[in-house]
Symmetry: C2
Subunit: 121 residues, 2 copies
């Protein structure tokens, strides 16, 4: 289960690591679109866009349906909940870590002050 | 500026697309660690771990400092704010898109009902 989750996070962060693919997701959030529409909008070849759509489809972020010669792309069922949770947890850890470091620095400063006073005495 | 932001998002999502690298970030949120510590914890070779740390360092998520023969890794200054914002915006778009589709389905059902009534009359 944990491994499945990790593999899913791997796949979705990899899918998100490209500006065009993020753009495609934002575009599909407005309405469904064919590969041809998407290739035109992003100034790419059909082959190039198809590769991006394949990555998005494999990660479950997009689903496609072929009717005749037209492949229509739509947003997949994944709302990126686990990915958002990971980021939020990381930010909490990050905050805790830097709060802790701040405390260490404060403690060092306080000791420095006490030592300085002692040296002057 | 937009391109710079996009390149940063590309780099950080790519850095996050690997379970070991996410694990390293979580580990470093507890305390700094050497490449050797990290390699041991994740059961990897030093060379393998060094590659992961390089990716994290290039994306600004980790900083390293070499003193003598030991390279210490610590969390970088990036709190993944832009990445979290992108995901949150996507989730809002996703919700809006599916709310809209729900409305279309409701509207179709309503029409179906009216038509059904008309047919029966």
């Amino acid at each position: 289960m944990v491994q499945y989750m990790q593999a899913r996070l791997d796949a979705s962060f990899a899918a998100l690591s490209d500006a065009t693919r993020r753009g495609v997701l934002e575009r599909l959030a407005r309405s469904n679109a064919s590969i041809t529409d998407l290739a035109e909008k992003f100034g790419m070849t059909l082959t190039g866009m198809k590769k991006h759509v394949d990555v998005l489809e494999q990660s479950g972020l997009v689903t496609t349906e072929k009717v005749g010669r037209v492949r229509t792309c739509k947003l997949g069922p994944r709302r990126l909940g686990a990915e958002t949770e990971w980021l939020e947890r990381y930010r909490r850890l990050w905050d805790a870590r830097f709060d802790e470091l701040d405390k260490v620095v404060e403690e060092l400063k306080r000791k420095e002050k006490v030592d300085g006073r002692k040296r002057r005495e």
